[in-house]
Symmetry: C2
Subunit: 368 residues, 2 copies
C-alpha cells in the first residue's frame, strides 16, 4: 500500500492506494468518528462490493445503504434529494459518516450530500473507477449537474480519507479504463514531463492493469493533484491547470448530452485541441503534438471532436463554462510539455482554426 497526504491544514487527509485495501477495516475506523455510517453507491457497484463492506462495518456501526441508479444522467438535484431522504429516514444525525463507494458520479453526489446534510458531515471516498481514483475523489470538488450546465451546483468539501483499491479496476469496462487514463496522461502534460515519458513507455502494461505499474500511475497522478490542490483549494488560481482539455471537453459533453461520450473521452479530445492550440501559438513542437496524440491513441481514446460539433456549438457552450471570468474565456494551454498555464491571451483566429481543422479532419476520416 502507498500513502500520501493532501496538505490542507486542518482539512488535510490521507490517500491510500493498494490492492485489497477496501477490506482493511482499520483504514475506515480511523476516518469514522460517530456510530452511524451511510454507504452511498450505485446498482452496478453495489452488486460487486457492497455486501462485503456492509459486513465488515456492521460489527461496529449502524450501517445503512443508499443505492442510486448508475450513470451521469442521474447526477441531478433529484437524486441528491434521494440521498437526503435516505439519511433522514434512517435517522442519521450530525455525527454520521457518509461513504462514497463508486465512480465519480457517486463520489460527487455523496460528497455534496455530506457537505450539505445538516450543514456538513464527514465522508470517505472509496473510488472504484480509474477516473475517480486519479481525479474526482481527490481535491474536494462535489456537486451535481443542472440541465443548463455540468457541475453547476456543488461545494468544495474535503473527505476524511480516500481509499483506492486497485482491485476494483479488474471489473471496469475497457472504455472506462481508457477514460480514466485520459486524466492520468493529463497530469504528465500539465506538470510532470518525466511522468509523461514513463507513461509513453508503460502504456501497454498500464492498459493491462499490471499491478505495481497501475499503483505507481495512480500514486503519481494523486500526488500531482494533491500538490496543486494544496496550493489552491478553491480554484482561485493555479488549480485551474487541472482543467486542461476540460473547457473543450465540457462543450462536447453538453452538446452531445451528458453520458454519450464519457467525461474522460471528451477530456482526451479536449486535451488534443489544447495541445494543438499551444502548438499554433509556438509553445510546443510538432513532435510534442504527435507524441500527445499517440499517447491518447495508445490508451484507446478519441483524439478528434465528434462530428455533431460545429465551431458555433463549441463557442456557445464554452461561453457558459465556469472558467469564463467577467466575460473573457480563459483556457489552459501548455507553455511546454509538462508545464501548463491559464490564459485568456490567445489569438481568436488560432482558437477557431484549431477547432475548424479538427472538425474537418474528423469529417474526412469518417468519409474515408
Amino acid at each position: 500500500m502507498r500513502t500520501l497526504t493532501v496538505d490542507l491544514g486542518d482539512r488535510s487527509y490521507p490517500i491510500y492506494i493498494g490492492s485489497g485495501i477496501c477490506q482493511q477495516k482499520a483504514l475506515f475506523d480511523e476516518a469514522i468518528h460517530g456510530k452511524q455510517v451511510m454507504i452511498v453507491t450505485n446498482d452496478t457497484v453495489a452488486a460487486l462490493y457492497l455486501d462485503a463492506m456492509v459486513t465488515m462495518l456492521s460489527a461496529d456501526y449502524q450501517v445503512d445503504t443508499c443505492i442510486l441508479p448508475d450513470g451521469e444522467a442521474y447526477k441531478t438535484l433529484d437524486t441528491y434529494g434521494l440521498i437526503m431522504s435516505s439519511l433522514l429516514q434512517a435517522r442519521h444525525n450530525r455525527t454520521t459518516t457518509i461513504i462514497a463507494l463508486g465512480g465519480g458520479v457517486v463520489g460527487d453526489m455523496a460528497g455534496f450530500a455530506a457537505a450539505t446534510y445538516q450543514r456538513g458531515v464527514p465522508f470517505i471516498q472509496v473510488p472504484t473507477t480509474l477516473l475517480s481514483q486519479v481525479d474526482s475523489s481527490v481535491g474536494g470538488k462535489t456537486g451535481v449537474n443542472h440541465p443548463l450546465g455540468k457541475n453547476m451546483i456543488g461545494a468544495f468539501y474535503q473527505p476524511q480519507a480516500v481509499i483506492i483499491d486497485i482491485d476494483s479496476l479488474a471489473t471496469l469496462p475497457p472504455r472506462e479504463l481508457s477514460a480514466g487514463m485520459a486524466e492520468v496522461i493529463k497530469y504528465g502534460l500539465i506538470c510532470d514531463a518525466e511522468f509523461f515519458d514513463w507513461l509513453e513507455l508503460e502504456m501497454t502494461d498500464l492498459m493491462a492493469l499490471e499491478s505495481n505499474k497501475i499503483t505507481e500511475a495512480i500514486y503519481r497522478s494523486c500526488l500531482a493533484k494533491a500538490n496543486v490542490v494544496a496550493q489552491d483549494e478553491r480554484e482561485g488560481g493555479i488549480r485551474a491547470i487541472l482543467n486542461l482539455g476540460h473547457t473543450f471537453g465540457h462543450a462536447i459533453e453538453a452538446e452531445l448530452g451528458y453520458g454519450k461520450w464519457l467525461h474522460g473521452e471528451a477530456v482526451a479530445a479536449g486535451c488534443v485541441l489544447a495541445v494543438d492550440l499551444s502548438w499554433r501559438m509556438g509553445s510546443l513542437s510538432e513532435q510534442d503534438v504527435s507524441r500527445s496524440v499517440a499517447m491518447f491513441e495508445a490508451a484507446k481514446l478519441p483524439v478528434l471532436p465528434p462530428l455533431e460539433m460545429t465551431l458555433d456549438s463549441f463557442v456557445e457552450r464554452m461561453a457558459l463554462d465556469k472558467k469564463v471570468l467577467d466575460g473573457s474565456l480563459r483556457l489552459v494551454l501548455l507553455a511546454s510539455l509538462g508545464d501548463a498555464m491559464v490564459t485568456s491571451d490567445f489569438p481568436i483566429d488560432a482558437f477557431e482554426a484549431c477547432i475548424v481543422d479538427a472538425l474537418e479532419v474528423g469529417k474526412q476520416a469518417s468519409l474515408a
Copy 2:
C-alpha cells in the same frame, strides 16, 4: 447607522444597522466584487423594495432578479432549484454576487444558493423582517427544509455583509414583528441579563418601533449572536445556546406543518418550556419564570404549546432534531437568567412534566 463586525478571520464581515441604509449604494459597492448581481427576493418584498434596489445597482452592475413565492412552505429543494436556473439562464459566472432581499426564508435559500452555485459565490444579506435581522442573517447558517425535517439540508456559509434597514419593519405584519421579538428576548435570556432588564422596560416602545430603541435592540441582539458565532462558527459547542427553545419549537413547527405557527412563535413557546424545565431543576426562581412569561406576553407571543401537541408528538419530533448526538437529546437550559448551558443531563420525568403540565394548562385555558 451602527456597525459591528462578525469576527471570523478571513471570513469576517460587517453588519450595518440603521434607517434608510438599503439605499446607501457605497455599502453594496464595498461587498460586490464582480460585475454581476442576482437579487433573490419574494413577491411580497419585491412589491415594496425591489425596484429601488434594481435602479440603484443597475448603474454599475448587470442586475438580474429571482422572485420566489412568499412563505416557509416554499423553502424547499425545488425552490432552490429555481434560483439555480435563474442564475444559469442569466449566465451568471463565478464572480457574481447574490443579494438576499427578504426575511429568513429568502436569506436561508439565497445563502444556500450562494454556497453552492458553481461551488460558492459571494452574497449579501439584506434582511427585511425583525426575525431575520436579529437571527438568521447573521452567522452563516443557510439551507432549505426537507419534508422530514426543518433545515436538514444546508451549509455554513458566511455573507460578505449584512445590511439591516430598520425602515422595512414599518411594513411588517404585527404577528411577524412579535415573532422576531421572540429571538430578541432569547438573547437576553441566554447571555445578557442587563439586556433582559432593559427589554422589560422598553418592550412597549419596541413594539411601537421607536427608531433609536429598535436600532439598539437589533444591535445588542446581533452583537450577542456575533459573539457566540465568533467562538463557534460551525456549532460544535457554545453556539448551540442560540437554540434556546428551538428544539421544542421545531417539534411544534414540524407537528403542525411548517408555517402554521411562525418560527418565532414556536420559539417563544419553546423558550417558556425550557425556562420552566430550568426552574424544575432548581436553576431559576419562580419570579424568573413569571418575568420571562410576562415578557413574551408583552411581545404578544404564545407562551404555551398548541393544543394539537401531545407528549408523544414532542418526544417523537425532538428525537430527529439536529441536537441529538449519538442518541442522547441535548437541550439548552438556563443556569440563571442571562446564562445558558447545553446539557443532556436532565431528569426525564421533569422534562415530561414540563410538557404535560403546559399542555394541561393550555387545555384548561381553551375550555375556560
